[in-house]
């Protein structure tokens, strides 16, 4: 009975935390369906009196948003792809090989991760303008890579370390070259780690605001988080809040889909059964 009761308590706590976390999201969804002209009614309500798609029409007909969506997707995907590939090789080397300066690389990576972004924005702005990559995709991809790589390397090297050495040695004895052993044995085994890192990196690039707003000026490279701050209402008397919320819902959807699609892969411990139970 006692365990039953404590299980109930856990459920209750879980629900409370869920409510706490979901409330802003619900509020966002609800706002996005309210009429932009009348949502500030005299009797505030949580749910809209009248459900309307008007806000979604507004954001999708606005080139500010559609180009930002394109930029966001492109930049985030490219940065994630590059980051995962580079981090995978770096992490493998760090986990498996013994080379001078290994500790230094890890320490520097950690130091970069701890470096405040705000301190870099000014210098980057000037440098990017000098180099002519201000307000371009590459101008955002480079700093995103810099900030995503340390975390990716750390997470992935932890995953690689969990893979027993014998796996690779067995592959080598079975006739694999180092590259074949890496590709056919290590990469599939590290897949959960790679996915986890990829998703985390993608989230970071997708949501990043500070660099995005500072290093862009036009539709050429401005990403969604930055574009949202430029939203205005249909007239100066109309608040853009509902439209912003509609845009927020749109950019949240890919993330929700990603998490739902890959959560099994992230959680699944693929190495079970590799070695003795």
């Amino acid at each position: 009975m006692a365990s039953r009761r404590s299980a109930n308590w856990w459920t209750l706590w879980g629900l409370l935390i869920l409510l706490w976390a979901l409330f802003p999201l619900l509020w966002m969804v609800s706002l996005s369906f309210k009429d932009p002209g009348t949502f500030r009614g005299s009797t505030p309500q949580f749910f809209p009196e009248e459900w309307t798609w008007k806000n979604y029409d507004t954001v999708f007909s606005d080139s500010l948003f559609t180009s930002a969506l394109r930029n966001s997707a492109g930049i985030a995907l490219i940065a994630t792809g590059l980051s995962v590939i580079v981090a995978m090789f770096a992490a493998y080397a760090i986990a498996r090989l013994d080379f001078p300066g290994k500790r230094l690389i890890l320490t520097v990576a950690l130091a970069i991760a701890m470096f405040p972004q705000a301190a870099l924005v000014g210098p980057l702005f000037n440098m990017w303008r000098g180099l002519g990559i201000y307000d371009t995709w590459i101008g955002l991809i480079i700093p995103y890579l810099t900030f995503a790589l340390p975390l990716s390397i750390w997470t992935m090297s932890a995953f690689f370390r969990q893979i027993p050495w014998e796996m690779e040695q067995a592959a080598q004895v079975d006739g694999a070259t180092a590259w074949q052993a890496f590709r056919k044995v290590i990469v599939p085994l590290a897949a959960p780690g790679v996915f986890t890192t990829a998703i985390l990196t993608f989230f970071f690039c997708w949501n990043e605001f500070l660099l995005a707003i500072s290093l862009t000026s036009t539709d050429r490279a401005r990403t969604v988080p930055a574009a949202l701050s430029f939203f205005t209402g249909a007239s100066q008397f109309e608040s853009p809040i509902t439209a912003i919320m509609a845009a927020s819902v749109v950019v949240t959807i890919p993330i929700v889909i990603l998490v739902l699609a890959f959560q099994r892969r992230i959680i699944a411990g693929l190495t079970t059964g590799a070695v003795k139970g």
């Binding site: 027993p164 014998e166 796996m167 040695q169 067995a170 592959a171 080598q172 004895v173 079975d174 006739g175 694999a176 070259t177 074949q180 056919k184 044995v185 599939p188 085994l189 897949a191 693929l270 190495t271 079970t272 059964g273 590799a274 070695v275 003795k276 139970g277």
Partner: protein, 397 residues
């Protein structure tokens, strides 16, 4: 078919530690060679040097007469079974076994299928081919690991303590199975173990290692009957051999519980030493009351107080504590520690017939044949009574 020749192989680690120290060993074609020794003796390192997972510091390794020191593991064409099996968890049993074949290429899908199914049938894995290793029992995983080794025509099989993760019953079954398979396939096999039962039952020959040094390479029978030194003598046999300090006075040797005349042929071997270790296997003792008069006369009988008797059904063990001088005690302690066991006290272990009526805490009359004992030099630990002729000729043909 192949032979492996190891010439003065040395493995030195960065800190100067010699894991394998000048080991030379010829492993004949089709031979089942066991590398055995307590943990840390270098047996696994030696095996990994043969397969190519450890670099060779100096010395030569020849497979089929070809020097392979600098060859990569993949080019040595050896198959290895790892202690923890090292199965590929993301592949099915079928793909695990097919893995080495696919890597080598040049084989059609049908050929691979036929070979894998053949290997699986040998190991009774046919019904598990579509499962992942994670869903298999320990014994099944072990068989998959063997399947991966036997599926291709490897020059030799290398086993690194393959049975040590199985429970005792399964281990016994797998041991027999393994021996049967090796005999049928006739493939040269090197097998590392710390278990002396595996060493004795499986090996054509057994190589005993201690701290990276090869102690003795011989057939199991020879190891048991003609150990070259105290280390080998203490390692082989269960329960282990008794080492009893004895003092010599002329032709008489005094043990803590009995004195007797040394047989004439061993007297010469002992020379002018005043102290030796007398080594007697527990199973060489007998309950004197069960021995007939002729037998009694041919050996030594003595009376001793039996502390504890363990009855096992097919035999029983009697323990007889005795006092030894302090300095010898520490020496014996050292040896025991090296043999991976903890010496609690000086005691004689005696294996008796199950029909013996000797009980706990009584005085018993025991018998042994001095010709069945060995004498060891207390300093070097060398066997002074080594018979130059092999005990029984059962060397591999």
């Amino acid at each position: 078919m192949s032979e492996i020749i190891i010439k003065n192989l040395v493995k030195e680690y960065g800190d100067g530690f010699l894991a394998v120290n000048d080991v030379s060993l010829d492993i004949g074609d089709g031979e089942f060679m066991i590398l055995v020794g307590p943990s840390g003796c270098g047996k696994s390192t030696l095996l990994r040097m043969i397969v190519g997972l450890e670099d060779i510091t100096s010395g030569e390794l020849l497979i089929n007469g070809e020097r392979v020191n600098d060859k990569k593991p993949r080019d040595r064409n050896l198959a290895m079974v790892f202690q923890n099996y090292a199965l590929y968890p993301h592949l099915t049993v079928f793909e695990n076994i097919a893995f080495p074949l696919r890597l080598r290429g040049g084989m059609t899908g049908d050929e691979i299928r036929a070979k894998v199914e053949d290997a699986a049938a040998t190991l009774e894995l046919t019904e598990h081919l579509d499962r992942k290793p994670g869903h298999l029992s320990g014994g099944q995983r072990q068989r998959v690991a063997m399947g991966r080794a036997i599926v291709r025509k490897a020059d030799a099989f290398l086993f690194d303590e393959p049975l040590s993760n199985l429970d005792a019953k399964l281990r016994g079954q797998m041991r027999t199975e393994l021996l049967r398979m090796q005999r049928r396939m006739g493939t040269t096999t090197v097998y590392v173990t710390h278990d002396q039962t595996e060493a004795m039952t499986l090996g054509d020959r057994v190589a005993v290692l201690r701290r990276g040094l090869l102690q003795q390479v011989a057939t199991p029978r020879e190891l048991y009957e003609q150990p070259v030194n105290m280390f080998v003598a203490g390692f082989i046999g269960s329960p282990p051999m008794n080492f009893i300090p004895g003092t010599l006075d002329g032709g008489t040797i005094s043990l803590p519980f009995v004195s007797y005349e040394l047989p004439s042929d061993t007297r010469e071997a002992v020379g002018d030493r005043s102290k030796v270790y007398v080594a007697i296997r527990p199973e060489r003792f007998e309950d004197a009351s069960l021995a007939d008069a002729a037998k009694r006369a041919s050996g030594v009988t003595f009376r001793a107080t039996v502390d504890v008797v363990e009855w096992l059904g097919n035999e029983q063990f009697a323990y007889i504590p005795y006092e030894v001088p302090h300095e010898l005690e520490t020496e014996l302690h050292e040896l025991e520690r090296e043999l991976d066991s903890e010496r609690m006290r000086s005691q004689l272990v005696v294996a008796l017939e199950p029909s013996s009526k000797i009980v706990d805490a009584t005085e018993a009359e025991l018998w042994f044949d001095p010709r069945a004992t060995h004498l060891f030099d207390p300093e070097s630990g060398d066997n002074l009574t080594l018979n130059p002729e092999p005990a029984v000729a059962d060397a591999p043909t």
